[in-house]
Amino acid sequence: MKRSPAVMALRWSGRVLVAAILLFVLLPGIVVAVTAFNDRAILAFPPQAWSLRWFWRAFSYSDFGRGFWNGLTVTLWASSIALVVGAAFAIAIHRYTFVLKSVLEGILLSPLIIPHYTIGLGVLILASQTGAGRGFPLVILTHVLLVLPFVMRSTFISLENLDSRLELAAASLGATPGRILLTVTIPLLLPGLLSGWLFAAILSFNEFTATLFVSSQATQTLPVAMYNYVREFADPTLAALSVIYIAVTALLLSLANAFLGLEKILNVDAH
């Protein structure tokens, strides 16, 4: 049976719409990626001549290298501390009833609504008032505050999915509360904890606004180093860096997917 022209038109306009939306999502990335190969020292699209020299500059510019390692240090510490603290708070809030429980939960989740620059500024003022140095601990502390809600949320979801009868069964079999936590609760929460950690790490590594306030020349992370660079130079180095960044992230995620099963870590697969 022949489809009517109206149906065909609808069908094709639908496809065009989807393509347009996908293009809109990808466009900024595409523009930046193409710009990275421009030979000239300006950010222009499309490029007139082609070169790889900005990639070389991205690698050789020492602030980026230092920013990368600084950022990695901050990310690993911040997301790991947030994992332990956030999971502990999440379990306590989920399991127990106590005075001001909802207030505690609200405070811990508040970084979701408080702007990052407010948190950055607040920590900076506190640090200068108390005379604390502007070293790594300050940056890490700020990042812990920022990513804590995400670890807690992820732990909450896993706790909701955890059948409490498993813990009751373990108790009936003679396991003390501590043993239940180590042998039943934590192993079963692990996918959620890992996904929370991964999410926290990605956020922390990319965080810019609050970090700008609390970092110094010695502790600046990659996004801050990139911001400082763009204030001085207008060449395509940042575009090249973006391409590297996208490629590395894609590679890491594919590896995580291949070896760990990403859908399991990200809780995409409910079973």
Partner: protein, 382 residues
């Protein structure tokens, strides 16, 4: 009334000392959730090796009682004893109780063998002994060779066997079963009931079984505690619960039953006489202690205790067959009996003779061919 005697019993046994002490004993245990009373002053004694069933509709307090014995919930008042020792304040992990949940609650991240070994490891038993006892437990539930599988690789029935093995391998003082059959399909359910009962009898383990299925309760139990609205209504052997229900609730919850309107004619100490139309029946007198001669009473008659006679037999009820239901080994007849029953009376006739002898529309007489008839005051006045 029955609660009362059990309470006297409990007090008396406390004075008598520790001899023949019950495996589980509840002394006036109450538990509230907010304003609602989930369990109201439960008095219960379970003998060593006994299979005790808590039977009732959902929300009757049976699961609350189970959780209190397991130590998953705290009592608001009353005491719980296990093998004579007071455990009211003892945490769950020190009560040495085996439990099988409705969904089995197997640890999904552990192999079958590790699931079963879990309770042995917490007891610090050495590896060789654990391996030996795990194998023994697997053999007990006929799952030899399944030790390395993960729970999700097993069928529902197999998972249940693992859960049972895990609970039994620690040699629990009491085995608690929380609706363990409700997730199984009907054929498997019957087979598992027989098998569980066999294992339970073999090991002689004291068992508390929670179910809302009266058939299951009648088939498996040594005694049944029928519960509703947070109270234990009757504690008795299955036959007695069925034949001599303590109150209206028990009579209508356990088994099919017809409720006919009668009238109290005469009452002596043990037996009372009631009339339904032209029919005279003797019923136990105690439930009618509050009734006066001439009062209207509800008479509870089981479908299989009714028989068809010719319409003119003196002292019988007269009615018209409205529906025939062929059930294979018996026939269910629904009979309109004007004046004494609001709904058609259900009569269960064995065999298939009634199929041809009582077609729809036939006028028949009804007689009662059993002593197991009970009467209670109508709901509003009781």
């Amino acid at each position: 009334m029955l609660m009362h005697t059990d309470r006297m019993d409990a007090i008396a046994s406390g004075e008598a000392g520790r001899q023949g002490r019950p495996a589980v004993q509840l002394d006036g245990v109450t538990r509230r959730f907010g304003d609602s009373i989930a369990l109201h002053e439960a008095w219960l004694k379970i003998q060593p090796g006994e299979f005790m069933t808590l039977l009732g509709p959902s929300g009757c307090g049976k699961t609350t009682l189970l959780n209190l014995v397991a130590g998953f919930l705290e009592t608001d008042s009353g005491e719980i004893f296990i093998e004579g020792a007071l455990v009211t304040e003892t945490p769950a992990h020190q009560r040495e109780i085996g439990i099988v949940f409705q969904n089995y609650a197997l640890f999904p991240h552990m192999s079958v063998a590790n699931n079963i070994a879990y309770g042995l490891k917490t007891r610090g038993i050495d590896r060789k002994e654990i391996a030996r006892r795990v194998d023994e437990a697997l053999a007990l539930v006929k799952l030899d060779g399944f030790g390395d599988r993960k729970p999700r690789q097993l069928s529902g029935g197999q998972q249940q066997r693992v859960a049972l093995a895990r609970a039994l391998v620690i040699k629990p003082k009491v085995l608690l079963l929380d609706e363990p059959f409700s997730a199984l399909d009907k054929n498997l359910r019957g087979a598992m009931q027989v098998e569980l009962k066999q294992i339970q009898r073999e090991l002689g383990v004291t068992t508390i079984f929670v179910t809302h299925d009266q058939g299951e309760a009648l088939a498996m139990s040594d005694r049944i505690a029928v519960m509703s609205a947070g109270r234990i209504r009757q504690i008795a052997a299955p036959g007695d619960v069925y034949r001599r229900p303590a109150d209206r609730f028990v009579a209508s919850f356990v088994g099919d039953v017809n409720v006919l309107t009668g009238c109290l004619v005469e009452r002596r100490t043990e037996v009372a006489t009631i009339s339904i139309g032209d029919m005279r029946l003797e019923v136990p007198a105690p439930p009618l202690a509050q009734a006066a001669i001439g009062d209207v009473v509800d008479v509870f008659i089981r479908p299989e205790h009714l028989a068809v006679t010719s319409g003119s037999t003196p002292g019988s009820l007269r009615g018209t067959v409205t529906t025939q239901v062929f059930q294979g080994d018996h026939i269910d007849l629904y009979i309109d009996v004007a004046g004494v029953a609001r709904e058609p009376v259900l009569l269960r006739a064995p065999g298939i003779a009634a199929l041809s002898s009582c077609p729809v529309g036939t006028e028949v007489g009804l007689t009662v061919r059993s002593d197991d008839v009970v009467a209670f005051l109508p709901e509003a006045s009781s």
